[in-house]
């Protein structure tokens, strides 16, 4: 598979075309905005956390296929997870995207998200994929400043 095919896999293109959980959430008890100042992409992540568990998660925003697919897949993975599990997953995803980790060595940890590992071969695109994750991390921590990929 070429690097390009690895980046734009069917699953990613599908999440881009029909993003899951793409909506505002009126009853969100945590919410954070994220910006990538380099390209102007922005995303808002909504969380409904009940007893330390992510009961519901959604997002809205504008960005490229990678950022949209990454956000969409993130929402499907994090729904039902505990806050601490979500934090751990953020760390793992971050490692994978920056090429520090090896997704193949612990696929059970990343599950379907491993498909995003192709991004690590495109340094200019890493921040596209990590924007939603930085944003959810910021929402989990209850930060009030918009998250930034910088």
């Amino acid at each position: 598979m070429s690097e390009l095919d690895e980046l734009y896999q069917e699953v990613i293109l599908d999440h881009n075309k029909s993003p899951r959980n793409y909506r505002a959430m009126a009853n969100a008890n945590r919410k954070a905005e994220g910006y990538n100042p380099l390209c102007g992409d922005h995303v808002t992540v909504f969380l409904d956390i009940d007893n330390g568990v992510i009961k519901d998660i959604s997002f809205q925003g504008s960005g490229c296929a990678i950022s949209k697919a990454s956000a969409s897949m993130m929402t499907t993975e994090l729904k039902g997870k505990s806050e601490s599990a979500a934090q751990q997953m953020f760390d793992e995803v971050h490692k994978m995207l920056t090429g520090e980790g090896d997704a193949n060595s612990n696929p059970e940890k990343l599950g379907k998200l491993a498909i995003l590992s192709g991004v690590s071969k495109f340094p200019a695109r890493v921040k596209c994929a990590s924007l939603a994750w930085h944003t959810v991390n910021s929402a989990l921590k209850g930060e009030t400043q918009p998250a930034s990929t910088e």
């Binding site: 390009l4 980046l7 075309k17 102007g40």
Partner: protein, 420 residues
């Protein structure tokens, strides 16, 4: 143009632009990217450098390196002469009256900041108005907003129409007795529009309002004549006119520059310093505190020599052909929409592809060796105006070819296939 020896029978007919020979002057263009020949269409971001510029910088560091305006020794005299020769070349390049009016800065951004902080803070007060256009680069918006915050002035914006042309009636309406400065781009970086700056200057001058022209995108494509334009300030960057990064030019009318206080304090900008009082140096040194980018200035001089050696009628005809060919080819693709369709444009095509974000376009084109810019082009208000988050932008230089545009169009078809 650097004289390249050629066999007589390989010379092209007179009046035909020999792009293949021009490309020989730019070593970077020979490389391959992801296994494909590089197609460099990101000239609006920065242009490539001819060997003559690379050699001039190399020669300076290898044989002339020394500080300027201060040494009595041989090397310093040589470096000073080379640096000041570059200033004179720059004067000729924009046809300023005097080389006193040529201030070397880091780039267009610093040139504009110099004017806002020196002229603006001295001569503008609360309630004054500054006019910019809706298609300015952030560097011709933010320094003015900062000035507004400092002195209590107000920023007014000339709208643009759907083609990306300035709405002149609105500009006329905005000009009033409160207007104290007009600062507009000569060529839009995001849309390619060539702005009728002469008319803009004339109208401002009817109200005795000074005008700065942001020439960052104009200088690589048009012949600049500041006396003919009648502008009070003209700013451009060395690296966009085939020279090095880190050096740029502010042209200012001497009469205004004389009245303005220094922008930064330090060495070289003084004539006498005591702890009681400092006397400032004469123009242009008053505005050039500290050791400047000497190699950059010399490199810019070499770039200007190179440009002056080209036949500009041919260059402009070639660039027109690139623009119209690219425009036609992109218009043939249904999913592609051009952003910026002004009557008068420089070699820039900004476009969006239906349902595909510009970054994805940029990444896929890159895999085909095609370098374009994808994003908001530091002109977020322009993106808002056209209701798009970002565009893909191909910006041409005279060393680009029709065949390269074909490669880009093929690559766009690959984008459509991936996102089918």
């Amino acid at each position: 143009m650097k004289a390249v020896p050629h066999m007589a029978d390989s010379l092209p007919p007179r009046g035909v632009f020999d792009v293949a020979r021009i490309r020989e002057d730019f070593p970077i263009l020979k490389q391959r990217v992801h296994g494909r020949p590089l197609v460099y269409f990101d000239n609006g971001a920065t242009s490539q450098k001819p060997q003559a510029v690379i050699d001039a910088i190399d020669r300076y560091y290898a044989a002339e390196n020394s500080n300027i305006h201060r040494g009595v020794h041989h090397l310093s005299e040589q470096a000073t002469a080379a640096y000041e020769a570059a200033r004179e070349k720059t004067r000729g390049f924009v046809n300023a009256k005097s080389d006193k009016e040529i201030i070397f800065v880091r780039g267009t951004t610093e040139a504009i900041n110099l004017v806002t902080q020196s002229y603006g803070r001295t001569f503008l007060t609360a309630g004054d108005e500054i006019i910019v256009s809706a298609m300015e680069h952030h560097s011709n918006i933010v320094p003015w907003q900062m000035l507004c915050g400092q002195v209590g002035a107000r920023l007014r914006v000339i709208p643009i129409n759907h083609d990306g042309d300035i709405v002149m009636e609105e500009y006329r309406r905005l000009l009033n007795e409160k207007t104290k400065f007009v600062s507009v781009t000569h060529v839009s970086n995001a849309l390619g529009t060539v702005v009728p700056v002469k008319e803009i200057v004339d109208l401002a001058h009817e109200h005795s309002v000074p005008v700065l022209l942001d020439g960052a995108q104009a200088a690589p494509h048009l012949r600049i004549d500041v006396q003919d334009l009648g502008c009070d300030f003209y700013a451009f960057s060395g690296h966009k006119v085939f020279g090095p990064t880190g050096v740029g030019v502010l042209y200012g009318r001497a009469e205004l520059l004389e009245k303005m206080p220094p922008y930064q304090g330090g060495g070289d900008m003084i004539s006498l310093v005591t702890f009681e009082k400092t006397h400032y140096n004469v123009l242009p040194y008053k505005f050039e505190a500290g050791t400047p980018h000497i190699a950059g200035g010399i490199g810019l001089g070499a770039a200007i020599d190179y440009l002056q050696g080209l036949d500009w009628q041919q260059v402009e005809a070639h660039e027109r052909e690139l623009l119209s060919y690219a425009t036609n080819e992109l218009n043939k693709i249904d999913a592609v929409r051009l952003i910026g369709t002004a009557q008068k444009k420089a070699g820039v095509v900004s476009f969006v592809i239906e349902h595909v974000h510009a970054h994805d376009v940029g990444t896929i084109l890159d895999q085909e060796g095609v370098a374009i810019r994808a994003g908001h082009h530091c002109a977020m208000p322009v993106m808002q105006r056209f209701g798009v988050p970002a565009t893909a932008r191909a910006s041409f230089a005279f060393y680009n070819t029709i065949e390269e545009i074909d490669v880009m169009v093929q690559a766009i078809h690959r984008v459509l296939k991936v996102f089918g």
